[in-house]
């Protein structure tokens, strides 16, 4: 049976004056998925997310959240209780403490005691701000503020989480902490749509990805399928001493499609079209011919390479 769709858009379009920011997008995201949205700046990712979050009204088209139609000219209070939206800027109330800020938003989302207190402790623990709960927001670091914003976004246990560039401007440690939190939310079964320029993060977190360009959704598929379709198998090999004998052996192998020299003078990247059994045979053959192999590592092209291969440019 087909999985229930958390997001289903039909012909979704947003036009700003003569510029079409989002053009006829049909996006389907199944419940429980982590969907990564990638594309250059100005491709329409933020506009698409803002429309899903009810922060922007579509020019035309329909949005269904968990099968329920998002109504135009309506405040959609029931749907809003199911959505959590973290925009790329996150203004906060500097005069409030962490606890009071979250308590205020919990009340805005109708959380009552004793559940509210319990939920506040839960999210503070999740975003690792438990020890800062009585601190003023103005005293927090950027990474902490970002985590607090995430806590605010999930305080009401939304079933769909929309994150727009959540790690932009964060240092590597803060980024890693943020990534770990998303993984926990993913394991909890939350549907997450996340846009980011950090493709390694998306590759680690997402189950599906979509690529946007000039307002169009030009690619949308499960990550595994995308790898299978677009990613070539590679073998990283290193030898002791001269790599010429290895190169000579490889050139005669029918399943070797190409060789790339790595900056390290003793290593090669080999594009290999064979099965895992064939790569085992290759390894055995190289060892038997006396080549002093120190590394034989099967891998595949990463998301960034696939993205560039598709002809898209990450920078605007």
């Amino acid at each position: 049976m087909a999985k229930e769709l958390a997001i289903d858009t039909r012909g979704l379009t947003k036009q700003f004056d003569r510029h079409i920011a989002v053009n006829d997008v049909d996006l389907q995201v199944a419940s429980g998925e982590v969907y990564g949205l990638i594309g250059p700046n100005g491709a329409g990712k933020t506009t698409l997310i803002r429309m899903l979050a009810t922060a922007e009204e579509p020019t035309t088209g329909e949005i269904y959240i968990n099968g329920e139609l998002l109504k135009r000219d309506s405040t959609n209070p029931t749907l809003k209780r199911r959505l959590g939206f973290l925009p790329d800027d996150f203004p906060l109330y500097d005069d409030l403490t962490v606890w009071d800020y979250l308590d205020y938003f919990a009340r805005l989302y109708y959380l009552r005691q004793p559940r509210r207190r319990q939920r506040l402790y839960e999210v503070l623990e999740l975003v690792q701000l438990g020890n800062k709960r009585n601190s003023l927001i103005s005293t927090l670091s950027r990474g902490m503020k970002q985590r607090l914003s995430l806590a605010r976004t999930i305080i009401h246990e939304p079933i769909l989480l929309l994150l727009d560039e959540p790690v932009s401007g964060l240092d590597p440690l803060a980024r890693m902490q943020f990534r770990e939190i998303i993984k926990i939310l993913r394991e909890a079964g939350m549907t997450i749509l996340i846009s980011s320029h950090v493709l390694s993060d998306l590759a680690e977190l997402c189950t599906s990805v979509g690529i946007m360009e000039l307002g169009y959704l030009v690619e949308s598929s499960p990550l595994a399928e995308l790898y299978q379709r677009m990613s070539r198998q590679q073998i990283i090999m290193s030898v002791l001493g001269d790599r010429a004998p290895l190169e000579s052996e490889l050139r005669h192998h029918p399943q070797v499609e190409g060789i790339e020299y790595l900056p390290n003078s003793q290593s090669l990247r080999v594009y290999f079209s064979g099965t895992p059994e064939a790569s085992a045979d290759l390894l055995r053959h190289l060892v038997q011919t006396g080549i002093p192999l120190t590394e034989f590592h099967c891998t595949q092209e990463d998301l960034e390479t696939i993205f560039l291969k598709l002809g898209h440019k990450q920078a605007s």
Partner: protein, 512 residues
């Protein structure tokens, strides 16, 4: 107990809870209490006098008994004005400064995304942001009432004044909040408080109107009538009438405020709301003129027409406000022209329904309906006043005025379609020029032709109509109708251009 109460308050209105939480620290509450008490003390001392009644003679003469006299009536007046000033200028300042800060910081957007209604958020702001001010005022109210009792002022009048200050305060708070949402500039708070000072002085005059300071009670004003009700004569009637007036005004401002808060790109009022607002305002306005005509039954026909000039000008101002409130901005019209109109069913009735009631359609039909409502309310009564013979001229006067307002409205709509940054300023300048320039030009060039005046100068018809010939009226109307057709055509053209597909342009470029 208190904790449970606060918690319940927070569940009922989180916004009020948040505002109070930031403001209700013991220190701030103490400061507000102390300020209120000190100001009351200063007021008492400024309105009292002590004279010595007994001296003891020793080396120097020393007073041992004082007679302390408080001038209760001036104390009552001074305190009432100060409280009103604090409420109108201080409260408005606090509210506007808060909403401008939140708007510019971007925090309002998160609140908008929450499932709470805009009514609940705005109510929380209005009750919570100036809470310390309310507290200080509440502490000062007992002295106001003690002063009123001691000065033997009619307590009914005091109660009426307090109620009407509260009613007017609510209206101004909503109005200034709306203004701050429309233009969240940093100077808004200080500007609003200046206007609050001015309103206080005006409103003080209104409240003491009909109050006799010698007998210390309300003696009324028999001239103030609304329809045939003698509103000014009776304190209760004056209170109810003014209260309802502010109540209705607050209701419409509240509607606009909520719409704007929920969706910053929405029009202030829906087309349907504009029809009701126009009807309620016209009935309110007619009530004034009704009593004015009744008072001067012997007005000549010439004067009966001339009286319509100020009414027309008030109506012009009002209907231009309505036009501003229902005119969709450029982007909405682009969307309407490009997608929505095309998606409407082709049946003519449904297209018409969209033009009359739709949130995003152009305003031509809505303005026509508003003008029709206005005419329908005024015409029967006016014809009854001037008689059937002159009734035709009254009708012509209304049509001539309505046509001009319709043209101004379409001009506003055409200007809002522009891409220029200063659309509002440009529209204002163009509108002022179209309304004001013809009369200046005709005066300078000494044009005496009634047809031209009635055709182009708003309000002039009421001066020319009693003497104008049928031909002159006909040609003025004809000129206006031709201009209206041209404006309508121009609007349709522009909408068609905006609605044209972008790919058409691209293909044209390719061909070129």
């Amino acid at each position: 107990m208190l904790l449970t109460l606060t918690d319940r308050l927070g569940d009922w209105n989180p916004q009020l809870f948040r505002e109070l939480k930031g403001r209700l620290s013991g220190r701030k509450l103490l400061l507000a209490t102390a300020t209120s008490v000190v100001v009351q003390g200063l007021l008492i001392s400024a309105n009292s006098n002590s004279t010595c009644t007994k001296y003891v003679d020793s080396i120097v003469s020393r007073c041992v008994e004082y007679h302390w006299e408080i001038y209760w009536q001036p104390l009552f007046m001074a305190e009432s004005i100060i409280l009103m000033l604090l409420l109108f200028a201080g409260g408005v300042y606090m509210l506007v400064a808060d909403i401008v800060r939140e708007q510019n910081r971007g925090t309002l957007n998160f609140i908008r995304l929450s499932p709470r209604s805009s009514q609940s958020i705005l109510l929380g702001k209005i009750l919570g942001v100036p809470f310390l001010l309310y507290w200080g005022i509440a502490l000062a109210l007992p002295l106001q009432w003690v002063a009123a009792v001691a000065a033997e002022i009619d307590l009914g009048w005091v109660l009426s004044c307090d109620l009407l200050v509260a009613a007017a305060g609510s209206f101004f708070y909503l109005l200034f909040l709306l203004n701050a949402l429309l233009l969240p500039a940093p100077y808004q708070a200080i500007a609003a408080s200046f206007v609050g000072c001015w309103v206080t002085s005006l409103y003080t005059g209104f409240l003491v109107w009909g109050f006799d300071s010698f007998s210390r009670r309300y003696i009324g004003d028999s001239y103030w009538k609304w329809f045939s009700v003698n509103v000014g004569q009776d304190l209760m009637l004056k209170t109810i009438w003014t209260g309802i007036t502010f109540g209705v005004a607050s209701y419409w401002t509240w509607q606009a405020l909520n719409r704007r808060f929920r969706n910053p790109s929405a029009t202030l009022l829906s087309k349907g709301q504009s029809y009701w607002l126009t009807a309620s305002f016209q009935i309110w306005l007619l009530g004034w003129l009704w009593s004015f005509y009744a008072k001067f039954m012997d007005l000549t026909e010439l004067n009966k027409f001339a009286v319509m000039l100020p009414v027309s000008i008030v109506n012009l101002a009002f209907l231009l406000i309505i036009v501003g409130a229902i005119t969709p901005h450029r982007q909405i019209l682009v969307d309407w022209a490009r997608y929505l109109e095309a998606s409407l069913p082709t049946a003519k009735g449904q297209k018409m329904q969209d033009l009359v009631w739709g949130e995003k359609s152009p305003i031509g039909w809505a303005v026509t309906i508003n003008l029709t409502i206005t005419s329908a309310i005024w015409l029967p009564w006016l014809v009854a006043q001037v008689g059937v013979v002159s009734g035709g001229k009254v009708l012509a006067g209304m049509v001539l005025s309505a046509n001009l307002i319709w043209m101004y409205a379409l001009l506003v709509q055409l200007f809002t379609l522009g891409t220029n940054k200063f659309v509002t300023i440009r529209t204002g300048v163009a509108l002022s020029a179209v309304i004001g320039l013809p009369s200046v030009l005709f005066s300078v060039l000494e044009v005496k032709n009634a047809t031209l005046w009635m055709f182009a100068v708003f309000g002039s018809c009421w001066q020319f109509l009693p003497e104008a010939s049928v031909t002159s009226i006909f040609f003025s109307l004809l000129g206006q109708i031709v201009t209206m057709i041209m404006l309508d055509w121009q609007l349709r053209q522009q909408l068609n251009e905006l609605g044209a597909s972008t790919s058409k342009e691209l293909l044209a470029d390719v061909k070129g």
